[in-house]
């Protein structure tokens, strides 16, 4: 099972590091990262492998939301299938 992490907010030092630390502490492997910075706004998407995760998806969603609030960005984790359903036939 794969998830998509998205981060949106003002750019600052260590955003990716903090999110990757959170992931690695729970046995989640980062498969791919894409990011853009437009006018100081940080926009990142991360594809993660949740199959070895030590924590259920729903509780990581909440954990990442909290982490995002602490560092001043909006962090979402969603099951990959919602994007596949919408954009792939």
């Amino acid at each position: 099972m794969r998830g998509i992490v998205t981060v949106l907010g003002k750019d600052s030092v260590g955003i990716i590091a903090k999110i990757c630390t959170y992931m690695s502490e729970r046995g989640v492997n980062v498969l791919d990262i894409a990011q853009t910075i437009v006018a100081g706004y940080f926009n990142m998407m991360m594809v993660v492998d949740l199959s070895g995760s030590s924590e259920p998806l729903a509780s990581m969603v909440v954990g990442l939301e909290t982490l995002g609030r602490d560092i001043g960005v909006v962090v979402r984790l969603q099951h990959e299938d919602i994007f596949n359903a919408m954009h792939r036939i």
Binding site: D32, T36, L57, V61, V62, Q78, H79, A85, H87
Partner: protein, 452 residues
């Protein structure tokens, strides 16, 4: 691999354009609860609903969190009570309504549908008992929704049932007069009612359905509206194509959620209902779509055409996105639940008659409309008969959910609270139809119902 732009589009639809799954509705058959003893029947009904739908709310919330898509309502529909309770030896069915209400409360859902009877051709004694029980049931319960099917293309219109439905509306309005007659917001009169509708207040679990099923209503008028913003001024081909593409994406999400809910609850997936359902929030309005299409206000000339192409394009896009489409699948135009419709009524742009015309081509009917509390019962019968005739002749589902708000006059606001919103009291035609509706009896089925 999904691109960052596709991910952003989905997230924008959810966070800015109010994309959501409007309801996961579990249909539950009560046919196996039949019992002569009303107490035993109620006990079986309560146990079955609580057992089947025990995890409905939790599963809906889990899916919502894991996929990042709001699942707004979780609900239950049951076999029409007049059929399920037919064996009970009791004078009325109010206690059964209370049982449904209690079960709904236990599992944490806001509405349960199916306090219903199918009387398009005739009434059994039990149908009559159920109809007599509707006003007190709606006044005494919080979550129970009720419906009657009084007409169909196959059977014609049961005018006696129409007249009783009008009386039920008046009696319910009187019994809930202290709350702006809000009991009437939980009662729908149908022509060609469908067995697998997930939307309230008209949901029930048809007798041709299995023991239980999961039906999902998707929504997203805000998503359609924001997609149309990008093609402002373009021709109708572009407009229809844009609506279709958007509807496809919305429906795919509904399909995913429905399959996931069915899998987790171990209950078969039934249908996806392709209906654009508004809520009172800004940006979640069907009226705003009509305005984006180029109408100053809903009700302006062109409104019927606009809603027709909107509805048709939503279906064309949605049908390909789901393996089973059913339910009502029509754009909803409830006045009280759509701030744009409310404004159109207040501006004098939208009348009851125009709403009726719109229901010929798109929607499910006259929905959540407040009329003066002193509207005669015969006038309500006439309004219902007109809408039933539209459904019968056009082979489509039509419905009336109308509220003669106690003590209210034209132009007053009737507040129903929460999801039901508030409606300006609209004018019902003042001329009498009493001698027409009081003829009673049955209107024969139309010629094109004889297809065999």
């Amino acid at each position: 691999m999904i691109s960052i732009y596709e991910v952003q589009e989905t997230i924008r639809m959810i966070s800015e354009a109010n994309l959501d799954v409007r309801t996961i509705t579990m249909g539950i058959s009560l046919l196996d609860c039949a019992d002569n003893s009303p107490e035993a029947f109620c006990a079986k009904v309560y146990d079955k609903i609580v057992r089947k739908a025990e995890h409905l709310v939790r599963v809906g919330d889990d899916i919502s969190r894991e996929y990042g898509i709001p699942v707004v309502n979780k609900r239950v529909s049951v076999t029409p009570v007049a059929i399920a309770a037919a064996g009970c030896k009791c004078g009325d069915y109010v206690e059964i309504a209370r049982t449904l209400d209690r079960a709904a409360s236990t599992i944490g859902i806001n509405f349960i549908g199916g306090f219903s009877a199918l009387v398009q051709k005739g009434l059994t004694p039990e149908d009559g008992k159920l109809m007599d029980s509707i006003p007190p049931a709606l006044a005494l319960t919080e979550r129970v929704c009720s419906s009657l099917n009084v007409a169909s293309t196959r059977s014609g219109i049961n005018v006696n049932a129409v007249n009783r439905a009008a009386r039920i509306i008046k009696d319910t309005a009187a019994l809930t007069s202290g709350r702006n007659s809000d009991g009437c917001t939980k009662f729908v009169v149908f022509c060609n009612a469908v067995d697998d509708n997930p939307f309230m207040a008209g949901a029930f679990h048809g007798v041709g359905e299995g023991d239980a099923s999961i039906n999902v209503g998707v929504s997203g008028p805000g998503v359609v509206k924001s997609a149309l913003e990008s093609v402002r001024g373009a021709d109708f081909e572009t407009l229809c194509e844009t609506v279709k593409r958007t509807a496809f994406k919305i429906t795919r999400v509904g399909q995913l959620v429905a399959q996931e809910a069915a899998r987790r609850l171990h209950i078969p997936f039934g249908v996806i209902d392709l209906s654009l359902a508004p809520t009172p929030s800004i940006g979640d309005s069907v009226a705003e779509i009509l305005q984006e299409m180029g109408l100053e206000q809903p009700g302006a000339p062109g409104t019927t055409a606009a809603i027709a192409i909107l509805n048709d394009s939503v279906k064309k896009g949605g049908v390909m996105a789901s393996s089973y489409v059913g339910g009502l699948s029509g754009a909803f135009i409830p006045v009280s639940e759509d701030h744009g419709m409310i404004e159109a009524v207040q501006a004098g742009a939208l009348s009851l008659e125009k709403l009726e015309a719109m229901s010929c081509v798109c929607s499910v009917g006259l929905d959540m409309i407040a009329i003066p509390g002193d509207t005669p019962v015969d006038t309500i019968s006439g309004i219902i008969m007109d809408e039933m005739a539209i459904g019968m002749i056009n082979n489509k589902t039509t419905a009336v959910r109308i509220i003669p708000a106690a003590g209210k006059k034209i132009g007053d606001m009737a507040e129903f609270g929460g999801l039901m919103g508030a409606s300006p009291v609209m004018e019902a035609n003042k001329f009498s139809c009493a001698d027409f509706v009081r003829r009673g009896g049955r209107i024969p089925a139309p010629i094109h119902s004889f297809r065999n």
